[in-house]
Amino acid sequence: MDKELVIEAKGVSKTYAEGEVKVHALHPVDLAIRRGEFTAVAGPSGSGKTTLLNIISGLDTPSGGRIKLAGREMSSMTQGELSDFRRDHIGFIFQAYNLIPVLTVGENIEYVLLLRGVSPGERSARVNRILDEVGLAGKRGRFPAQLSGGQQQRVAIARAMVSGPDIILADEPTANLDSATGSALMDMMRELNEGKGMTFLFSTHDRMIMEKSSRLVTLKDGRVESDSLKK
């Protein structure tokens, strides 16, 4: 069933050197994420979940082990190739939305398509379509500062999804939202996951996300403590 694997991490470790002191942020970790999964990586602060997601996304390099994403070995890629790889295969959702404030909602989403060389006409159509899907039709010309936190996170989700990536990595996506808004967003992502088969990997310590995810991986002190599938 290897062809269904989106992420395959084997013996991935990360050690930071702080002066002469070495900090093991991640001990050798194995993790496989299959297409269509809705997985949460949970753990307390300092457990290594952020480091793990950074390495999976190619934003950081592992000290040991190897990562395959969408069937490609990432460790041998240059910075430029990693940028292209993220552009083509990964969608990001950040805790603080991280939209570009000088770009409108439409332009924020369009930017990802622009990077991929999509034609202006198609970019416009896809932006409209994705805004419809996240319930923000009519907000295309607004600037992020003119939206609520929940709406901004919807834009971030739309930006992550618009290019149809193999996986969406979400870092504490509900941390800055009230529980009702956070729950509604999770429901929306779950629908996209079930409806479109989109793969999600969350980093979280929000119990609600853990409950709504279909698989829960817990980390502690840089090691996988548990890995369980839920119904």
Binding site: T50, L53, N54, S57, L59, D60, Q79, G80, S83, D84, F85, R86, R87, D88, I90, F92, F94, Q95, A96, N98, I100, P101, V102, L103, E107, E110, Y111, V112, L114, L115, R116, R159, L169, D171, S203
Partner: protein
């Protein structure tokens, strides 16, 4: 508009106060350069105009060696023929024949030495401003033996209009002393101390007679249709009129101090430009880095979503281009405004000698097209060059460090 240019433009206007201050600082630097250029060249232009327009002419023809000795025997070879040739010369706008000799000038009260010029008043009006500089009497307009004295020379001689003056000079053909009496017909007040204290003018024909020149002449002052011709050493004019024992020289050769001053001015402006460029470079680099540090997180996000390092650098260069364009516009506007304001009355240094020439008009900024295309273009280009440092920094930025709290 291109997406990245739009992004750069909006980012430039994001912190309007900072952008305005940076553009003002850089623009002021450029305005200073435009003003320095305009006032320097304005001063030189005024001096050159004074030097060539008051009496010298833009070029002169002499017998070789005459300028060193003022020997009355060194008349221009084939002078009358050259005058006829100059009448037909398409480069030449006007010319005036002259005689020139050292002379002792005596009044009943005093005596002094001077350069005695024999001039054709009608021809001089087309070549020089002598006639306009006569403050009392006329410029040899009346029939009879009249002399025009420099105002300071007249003071020395204690001579006024109508007074008798005796001129003694060495004539050609052996150096016999020749003497003649004149009445003061005009007082010259040119504003140039050298002219007003050392020059006297009599009619050309009378001078030829006095100096026993037999129809000869010592100097031809020339004005060109295009003043730039005086500085164009490649023109055949210099060979044509500088042959047969004669020499033809443009004003840069006749007043080398002034030509050297212009070169020094150009060098001074270059040094000013380099110093200002250094200040501009620091200002722009600082502004870009402030903007970059402020948006570190955004740059991290842009890298995370797949922006290539080179594209990140290009974004910074684009922002620098926007800042450079604003600064160049501000600088050109401020430069133009400062030149206009100072140009209303000019800077009054009249009477001050510079490079051997007296300033007789206030210094006014001089417009040169380069000020409004070369300097802004150079500023824009320079902005792009100095932006490469922050651009490389942005391109090499580690996205994880940039985002810190992110993934």
């Amino acid at each position: 508009m291109n997406f990245y240019l739009k992004l750069a433009w909006r980012n430039s206007l994001r912190n309007k106060r900072r952008t305005a201050l940076a553009a003002l600082a850089v623009g002021l630097g450029m305005a200073g350069l435009i003003f320095t250029d305009a006032i320097s060249y304005g001063m030189l232009d005024g001096l050159i105009d004074t030097a060539t327009g008051t009496f010298l002419g833009q070029a002169q023809v002499h017998r070789r060696g005459f300028l060193d000795t003022a020997d009355a025997d060194l008349q221009i070879a084939g002078g009358p023929a050259l005058l006829r040739q100059l009448e037909r010369d398409p480069l030449v706008s006007a010319f005036a024949p002259r005689t020139l000799s050292f002379a002792m000038i005596s009044s009943p009260a005093n005596s002094g030495s001077a350069m005695l010029y024999g001039v054709d008043p009608a021809a001089e009006r087309r070549v020089s401003r002598l006639a306009r500089a006569v403050s009392g009497g006329s410029f040899l307009a009346e029939e009879g033996d009249y002399i025009v004295l420099g105002s300071l020379l007249a003071e020395t001689l204690e001579a006024g209009l109508g007074d008798k003056i005796v001129v003694t000079a060495a004539a050609a053909g052996g150096g016999e002393l020749a003497q003649a009496m004149f009445r003061v017909g005009g007082i010259l007040k040119s504003g140039s101390r050298a002219m007003d204290s050392n020059m006297a003018f009599i009619k050309f024909a009378k001078a030829q007679d006095l100096l026993n020149l037999k129809g000869g002449l010592h100097e031809i002052a020339v004005v060109f249709k295009d003043p730039a011709a005086a500085e164009n050493a490649a023109l055949p004019f210099w060979r044509e009129y500088g042959s047969g024992g004669n020499e033809a020289k443009g004003w840069p050769e006749l007043i080398p101090e002034l030509a050297a001053s212009r070169e020094m001015t150009a060098f001074g402006i270059l040094i000013t430009a380099i110093i200002l460029s250094g200040i501009v470079a620091l200002g722009i680099t600082n502004t870009l880095f402030m903007s970059l540090y402020e948006r570190m997180f955004e740059f991290g996000v842009l890298r995370a979503v797949g922006t290539r390092p080179a594209r990140m650098g290009l974004m910074i260069v684009s922002e620098a281009a926007a800042l450079g364009a604003i600064s160049a516009a501000v600088g050109a506007a401020l430069g133009w405004l400062s030149c206009r304001l100072v140009g209303i009355k000019g800077l009054d240094y009249t009477g001050v000698d510079f490079a051997g020439v007296s300033m007789i008009e206030p210094i006014r900024p001089m417009f040169r097209p380069e000020q409004y295309w070369l300097y802004p273009a150079a500023l824009f280009l320079f902005t792009l060059i100095v932006s490469l440092y922050p651009a490389v920094y942005a391109a090499r930025m580690n996205p994880v460090k940039a985002m810190r709290k992110s993934l």
